[in-house]
């Protein structure tokens, strides 16, 4: 209720009361009309003035109180009387807007004018709605102060209704929120900065408080695990993403943290919801309360899939380089030995021949010389093998049908295969290769002999397969289409240590006298000199498999003329 109404009411009441009392007790009947005409207005006026003064003092007090409160809170207010369209501004509103009561009259246009251009339209609409009596949410805007400093304000509006429910006034506040807003912006910047840093470094962070199920993830963590940001995450759901064999490792980190024991960095593989396998490296720290008791775990995780793959490739390349260097060194050594051995064998063979021819055939001496001669032949064969692996012996290249070569070799081999060994052939028609039939025959014989030895006295199967491949796998082979030949046995297999060394010259697992240790190194030498690649895979007790890839002729590859001629 407005002040003037209250004063009017109080005044009327006072006047009526005083008049009634005087009328009844004080006046003789004849004087009543005269006195009434004289006294009543004076008393009523005095009472009214008193009431007005008290009321004004209360009002002033209340206004001062409000002004102090507005000043303290940095909140200015306005009030619009809908009937009179009168707009009042509090002192603080002038101050908030950087205006002065002396120079500026309260007007919404003036308020809008204080806002930054970009915020004016929205605020105008908002004010129109509010003044029409609509319920409006608070809005924020930036003030352009004459001093040029940017200030953020928050504006609210509400309606006041009279007793009949009609909207009488619209009141609003304009609150300075610069400090809060700047802090808010700074926080948002800082969060964006952190998110960007995490994205660039591909490092996600996480936090988990014991006693809760929640696992908090940064945006980058969600990306690493292939889950939509914001999806509620729990420790259990996280563990479920890990591959089963790595799950315990992950679980252990939570257990250790709960017990307050240092949590080591771990690496575990996950299967993302889209099915992709990734490797994650995770480092964690225990969160403790002020008394030092563990209350949670916090840390970072990184997707190291590509890094590990790269490291693996490098290690493989390094191993291959190492192997190649070793073979090269051994080749040089073997070349030197071969030269001297060839010279040394010459007299053994030539002189044994010469002597033998002088002796009667069938004599004991002639037979002994024959043995010397045979030993010489065998030694010569060995030297040739050494030279073959060290690539000093030139292959006799021709365009070959490998299927035909294999069938031919197999017809020779079959007779020597024990009945306990079954040979399975899966020989496709394949593209021609450029190669030395004799050497490739030697490759096959070597691999089959090894397979038979690996099966030993047990029953087993040797599978020979030949087919075309669109592309040679891995380094070491010429890129492009190739012919793939494999020999697999179901024999005893080898451990990893043995497998690594099988292509080294003189390395053998056979008993002394049963193998020279040259077979597979020769095979390796022959395959490599054909521009091909050989791979061996094996598991103890399950068998061994050799895969050979030779470059196929045709389709962009032709036989060099000087060799084909």
């Amino acid at each position: 209720m407005r002040l003037s109404t209250r004063v009017l009411l109080a005044t009327s009441l006072a006047v009526l009361s005083a008049a009634a009392i005087a009328w009844h007790f004080l006046l003789p009947p004849g004087l009543e009309p005269l006195l009434a005409a004289l006294l009543l207005p004076g008393a009523a006026l005095a009472y009214a003035v008193q009431a007005l003064r008290e009321s004004e003092a209360r009002l002033r007090k209340s206004r001062e109180h409000l002004a102090r409160a507005q000043r303290a809170a940095d909140i200015g207010s306005w009030e619009l009387d809908l009937k009179s369209r009168a707009l009042e501004w509090s002192d603080e509103l002038f101050r908030v807007l950087g205006l002065s009561r002396e120079q500026d009259a309260p007007a919404f246009e003036r308020l809008i004018g204080c806002l930054e251009e970009a915020d004016r339209g929205e605020t105008t609409n908002w004010l129109e709605l509010a003044c029409a009596g609509a319920t409006v949410p608070a809005i924020e805007g930036r003030l352009v102060r004459p001093d040029g400093r940017e200030r953020w304000v928050r504006m609210e509006a509400a309606v006041l209704r009279d007793d009949g429910g009609e909207i009488e006034t619209v009141v609003g506040t304009v609150e300075t929120i610069t400090q809060r807003k700047l802090a808010e912006l700074e926080l948002r910047d800082s969060q964006q900065h952190l998110a960007r840093a995490q994205r660039i470094a591909a490092v996600g962070s996480f936090e988990h408080r014991f006693g809760t199920l929640v696992l908090e993830w940064s945006e980058e963590s969600y990306r690493i695990f292939g889950i939509a940001p914001g999806t509620p995450m729990t420790v259990e759901a996280h563990e479920a993403l890990a591959l089963e064999e790595d799950r315990e490792k992950l679980h252990e980190t939570y257990r250790r943290a709960r017990e307050g024991r240092t949590v080591p960095a771990i690496e575990y593989r996950i299967r993302r919801p889209d099915g992709v396998l990734r490797t994650v490296h995770r480092e964690s720290e225990i969160l403790r309360d002020s008394a030092g008791a563990p209350i949670g775990i916090i840390g970072v995780c990184r997707d190291v899939t590509e890094l590990r793959a790269e490291q693996h490739r490098n290690a493989e390349l390094e191993a291959q380089l190492h192997h190649a260097q070793r073979m090269e060194a051994l080749g040089t050594l073997a070349g030197g030995i071969a030269h001297d051995l060839n010279n040394t064998l010459l007299p053994v063979m030539v002189l044994a021949d010469a002597l033998q021819r002088k002796l009667p055939k069938g004599s004991a001496e002639a037979e002994r010389l024959q043995l010397i001669r045979q030993a010489g032949d065998r030694a010569r064969g060995l030297v040739r093998q050494i030279l073959a692996f060290s690539r000093r012996e030139d292959p006799n290249r021709a365009v070959l049908d490998l299927a035909a070569v294999l069938r031919q070799s197999m017809s020779l081999v079959r007779a020597g295969v024990p009945t306990t060994v079954r040979i399975e052939e899966r020989i496709d028609e394949v593209a021609p290769v450029l190669g030395d039939a004799g050497q490739l025959h030697q490759v096959l014989l070597n691999l089959i002999a090894n397979a038979i030895d690996a099966i030993g006295d047990s029953i087993g199967t040797i599978t020979l397969a030949l087919n075309n491949e669109a592309d040679a796998p891995g380094p070491g082979a010429e890129p492009g289409p190739c012919v793939h030949f494999s020999v697999a046995d179901t024999g005893c297999g080898m451990d990893e240590g043995t497998l690594k060394r099988i292509f080294e010259p003189f390395f053998t697992t056979k008993a002394v006298g049963q193998g020279t240790g040259l077979g597979l190194s020769v095979v390796h030498g022959i395959v490599t000199s054909h521009g091909g690649r050989i791979e061996a895979t094996s598991r103890v007790g399950e068998g061994t498999r050799f895969d050979i890839f030779l470059p196929a002729l045709g389709a962009g590859r032709t036989a060099p003329k000087e060799i084909a001629a």
Binding site: A338, H339, N343, P347, M349, A354
Partner: protein, 134 residues
């Protein structure tokens, strides 16, 4: 009689062996341990056939072969090699290209040696090891 053979090889065992069997086969064998000594012996003895190793420390065989052909373009030369750092067959291919009449890869046997030597220097009516064995 044209039966003189000059044998150049740095390996004494090889020299002795080849000299031994060729002498027995009716050839007169002069030996040298390297290319330089071989050229001296060639000029001095004018052999009917030269057998030279290709890889030797001092003067290697290909150069010796070329020098011999400078002195006598019709000289008959057999190149022998035990291989080593370079492929045996390739060395001998090179020797053939450079004018060697024939080649032998070590270690050869007696029959291979005699067959090649007789092809380039037959001994008319002379005894052979083959004959003496029978």
């Amino acid at each position: 009689v044209n039966n003189r053979v000059l044998l150049i090889d740095d390996d004494i065992i090889v020299r002795q062996t080849i000299a031994n069997v060729l002498t027995e086969a009716g050839y007169e064998v002069v030996s040298a341990a390297d290319g330089v000594a071989g050229m001296r012996a060639y000029r001095k003895n004018r052999p009917d056939l030269v057998i030279t190793d290709i890889i030797m420390p001092d003067q290697e065989g290909i150069q010796t072969l070329m020098e011999i052909h400078k002195v006598d373009p019709t000289a008959k030369v057999i190149a022998i090699s035990g291989g080593g750092r370079t492929s045996n067959l390739r060395i001998l291919d090179v020797a053939r290209t450079m004018g060697a009449n024939d080649t032998l890869a070590k270690p050869f046997d007696l029959e291979e040696l005699l067959a090649v030597v007789r092809r380039w220097l037959p001994l008319d009516g002379g005894p052979t090891l083959q004959d003496s064995a029978e």
